[in-house]
């Protein structure tokens, strides 16, 4: 690891123990690891269930999800339910700054992860609990997977909007790909962990209670704000009045003009068609009222043009537009390559892939590139005295 001994990555020296079964807790650890913290996953014999979570890489039994979430971490195996479990846990917690744990409340005592007990034994420890519905409140013992949590926080009900809803209005609401809610819970847990650790020199360690449901609600705050303004949002009506998803030749385009100048540029892009010359359309409120009509015209135009041409012409004119890019487009993307978004990833069995390093850069101390997926127990447990 070529790192400036004085400077180092942002979280050089930060020691994290992660006991995770959920994407949320694992993502919290992953963000900290990407920024240079030393993150050790404490896994049960046989490994965390995330090692078997789909999607699997074709022709292997390796989880692409686990590979993403564990890149750059270490693995120690410890059976917390075994007679020596408590001793092993305490040995591993020596010198740890942040513990991330997603053990359900009812199982914590048996695994020696009760926060009050731990805080007495490790008063400087920042102990972050990450649970679907949090560790306190009347539903703290409720359980939920991604699909439940996205809907428990109100965002699921609002999807899809726009073109997907227009095409399939009778279908049930639609989940966002993958583990969107858990990524919210995980990033919120990482934030809370670093905030509590920031306060530690004065306040000592403390227990932090993070809920995935809360985190999704937090990013969905505008819908609650709209409720306060008197509007109950629904996926049928929250689409933009005009703009949105359009099918073009060879793909789909997202187009959104919020400012007058962007509308004017869009009219130019469309070749100043006669329908757009209507003076009434200079008024944004009138455009909103006639959104469906405008979209019909734009849809017809989009279908006649190639997706890459459209987005290039649009960006040249200052019209916010983007291609709906596939994962293959993103991994090959010139922009992403230029920014060093991806790094080599070594998986089990000698497999080499690429992985997104982190969704942020530190320009004075760039993050480390190459990462590995830790084999189960690749680091021996600290010996028990």
């Amino acid at each position: 690891m070529a790192e400036d001994p004085v400077q180092g990555p942002p979280l050089a020296g930060c020691r994290v123990l992660e006991h995770s079964r959920s994407v949320a807790a694992a993502y919290a650890g992953r963000l900290l690891a990407a920024m240079g913290a030393g993150v050790v996953m404490l896994e049960p014999p046989g490994g965390t269930p995330l090692r078997r979570a789909p999607p699997l890489l074709e022709g292997t039994d390796q989880s692409a999800l686990f590979a993403y979430l564990s890149a750059g971490k270490h693995s120690v195996v410890c059976d917390l339910l075994a007679p020596h479990g408590r001793c092993t846990l305490e040995r591993e917690l020596e010198g740890i700054d942040i513990l991330i744990d997603d053990t359900p409340l009812g199982r914590r005592a048996a695994q020696h992860l009760d926060p009050q007990v731990l805080s007495q034994r490790f008063p400087a420890l920042v102990h972050v609990s990450v649970l679907p519905f949090g560790a306190s409140g009347p539903k703290a013992d409720w359980d939920g997977e991604e699909v439940n949590l996205l809907h428990a926080a109100g965002e699921g009900f609002l999807l899809p909007n726009g073109l997907s809803y227009e095409l399939f209005p009778e279908r049930p609401p639609l989940k966002i790909y993958g583990h969107f809610s858990h990524y919210q819970g995980g990033s919120m847990a990482a934030l809370a962990a670093l905030a509590a650790w920031w306060a530690a020199p004065a306040a000592g360690g403390q227990y932090v209670d993070v809920s995935v449901q809360d985190a999704v609600l937090s990013v969905g705050a505008f819908a609650l704000q709209r409720l306060g303004d008197g509007s109950l949002e629904h996926r049928a009506t929250r689409s933009f009045r005009y703009g949105g998803v359009f099918e073009a030749r060879g793909g789909f385009v997202e187009l959104l003009t919020l400012e007058d100048r962007q509308w004017t540029a869009l009219v130019e892009l469309l070749g100043r068609p006669a329908w757009a010359q209507d003076d009434a359309l200079r008024d944004p409120l009138e455009r909103s009222r006639r959104g469906a009509e405008i979209n019909r015209h734009i849809r017809a135009w989009m279908l006649r043009h190639d997706v890459d041409d459209i987005v290039r012409w649009a960006q040249e004119r200052g019209v916010p537009a983007a291609k709906y890019r596939t994962p293959a487009d993103v991994i090959r993307g010139e922009h992403e390559r230029s920014r060093g978004l991806f790094a080599p990833l070594r998986l089990g069995g000698g497999l080499q892939a690429e992985v997104l390093v982190a969704p942020f850069q530190f320009r004075c101390t760039p993050l480390e590139g190459a990462m590995s997926v830790p084999a189960i127990g690749e680091r021996p447990a600290e010996p028990v005295k």
């Binding site: 004085v6 942002p10 050089a12 930060c14 999607p55 805080s119 009347p138 699909v147 809907h151 428990a152 926080a153 609002l158 899809p160 997907s164 609401p173 639609l174 989940k175 966002i176 790909y177 990524y183 990482a190 934030l191 809370a192 905030a195 509590a196 920031w198 306060a199 004065a202 306040a203 403390q206 209670d209 809360d214 999704v216 705050a221 609650l224 704000q225 409720l227 303004d229 998803v245 789909f252 997202e254 919020l258 909103s288 960006q315 916010p320 983007a322 291609k323 596939t326 994962p327 993103v330 922009h335 497999l351 992985v355 997104l356 969704p359 942020f360 850069q361 530190f362 320009r363 004075c364």
Partner: protein
């Protein structure tokens, strides 16, 4: 010394962010106790101070979530003296945050080197759609475009439909990640005393949410768009109930949960049906299962069924709208939702503390949306030491404006 009641007490942010993603980030840090000074101007007021036809809002917002806890000052950054004042503000801040298009801060004379020259250990957060470098760095964009560029929009959607447009949650996800990076930079500064420039591209946050699919794509494999289905769980998805547009979400992880579900829905024969006896078998017969679930649930109340299934150990939840969220005692008890009110603002719910801290009880909303420039006595007077006469002169010449 009174112990701090919020973890970021003592951290000061000079906040130049606009739109949603950047302000959401600084709002989170402000809820965690940072003092956040929002720099605005009369000529370029924040979006919430204006009508928003696209969302059908015809007047300024009375309450704006992403401006809670913030102090407001006016500076017309087109004027060199305002830029000088902005630098003075940065010189007494720990963090400067901005979300302009790449290059704008530089043109204003507020680029990283300029800020570092007035505050050698400044942390500058630059949040933009496509980042500070790379061929697309000049691209303008909003949340739906971040989702499109980053691949999350493509991966979401019905398996036979178009990609799906991401909304504010995409902006705010970028904001949360920006807050994480800012905290890490604060720790780094504590350790090294050095400045840092954080470059966050919102489209890369969208990509971070398909991190598994990107690994597959890097190996030439084609990730699957699964819609509401799951690759290892069945039943899994969103099901109609007896009430119109009232959906129940279900995720059955193993055989025990499957048997519990069948029992709670009074379908004893289903739990012994060999088509559904194992996870693999249920996945194979997923379509039949989905049809059965729709039939079984057609006579049931969504909410009562969810509660009953939760008690039986099955992951279930109603697809809640915001009225349901607002009425939930659990979220209220946690302070995740909190009632706010002020003169001119009738009591309403807002999103409160992002986490609960055992030793810190002042995390959350302490004050609401500031009026434009309402904190200039404190910021320009007390913190920067400008006299009333100086401030009046600067206002007359529209430097403070």
């Amino acid at each position: 010394m009174t112990p701090a009641q919020a973890p970021l007490c003592g951290v000061r942010i000079a906040d130049f962010t606009i739109h949603a993603a950047g302000p959401f980030c600084t709002q989170l840090l402000a809820q965690l106790g940072a003092q956040c000074i929002k720099v605005e101007s009369k000529t370029r007021p924040d979006a919430f101070r204006k009508p928003h036809a696209v969302y059908g809002r015809m007047t300024a917002a009375t309450f704006d979530q992403v401006s809670v806890n913030k102090l407001s000052v006016r500076l017309n950054l087109k004027q060199p003296e305002a830029v000088a004042l902005a630098k003075r503000l940065v010189s007494i801040a720990d963090v400067a945050a901005e979300s302009f298009r790449a290059g704008v801060m530089q043109r204003l004379g507020l680029g990283f080197q300029a800020l570092r020259s007035v505050k050698p250990d400044i942390i500058l957060l630059s949040l933009s759609s496509s980042g500070q470098s790379g061929p697309d760095s000049h691209f303008a964009g909003y949340a739906p475009l971040f989702g499109a560029w980053g691949g999350l929009g493509w991966m979401s959607g019905y398996s036979d439909g178009p990609p799906v447009e991401m909304r504010h949650v995409m902006d705010h996800s970028a904001g949360t990640h920006a807050a994480v990076a800012t905290m890490a930079a604060l720790h780094q500064r504590r350790r090294t005393g050095q400045a840092q420039h954080i470059d966050l591209a919102a489209r890369e946050v969208a990509s971070a949410m398909i991190g598994d699919a990107l690994i597959q794509a890097s190996l030439g494999q084609r990730p699957e768009r699964t819609g509401n289905a799951h690759l290892s769980m069945a039943p899994h998805g969103v099901y109609p109930t007896r009430e119109p547009d009232r959906w129940l979400t279900l995720a059955v992880r193993n055989d025990d949960e499957w048997r519990a579900l069948a029992q709670e829905l009074n379908q004893p024969s289903a739990s012994s049906d060999p088509r559904f006896a194992s996870a693999d078998a249920r996945l194979h017969h997923r379509a039949e299962l989905d049809a059965l679930l729709a039939r079984w649930l057609a006579t049931r109340s969504a909410e009562a069924t969810a509660e009953r299934l939760q008690r039986a150990g099955v992951c279930a939840h109603v697809s809640w709208n915001m009225q349901d969220v607002a009425g939930d005692a659990h979220l209220r008890a946690r302070g995740a939702t909190t009632e706010v009110s002020a003169p001119g603002i009738a009591p309403r719910l807002a999103v409160g503390a992002p986490a609960r801290f055992s030793k810190m009880h002042d995390v959350g909303i302490r004050r609401l949306t500031p009026a434009l420039g309402q904190d200039e006595d404190y910021v320009f007077g007390e913190l920067l030491g400008l006299t009333s006469a100086q401030r009046a002169d600067l206002e007359r010449r529209e430097v403070i404006s």
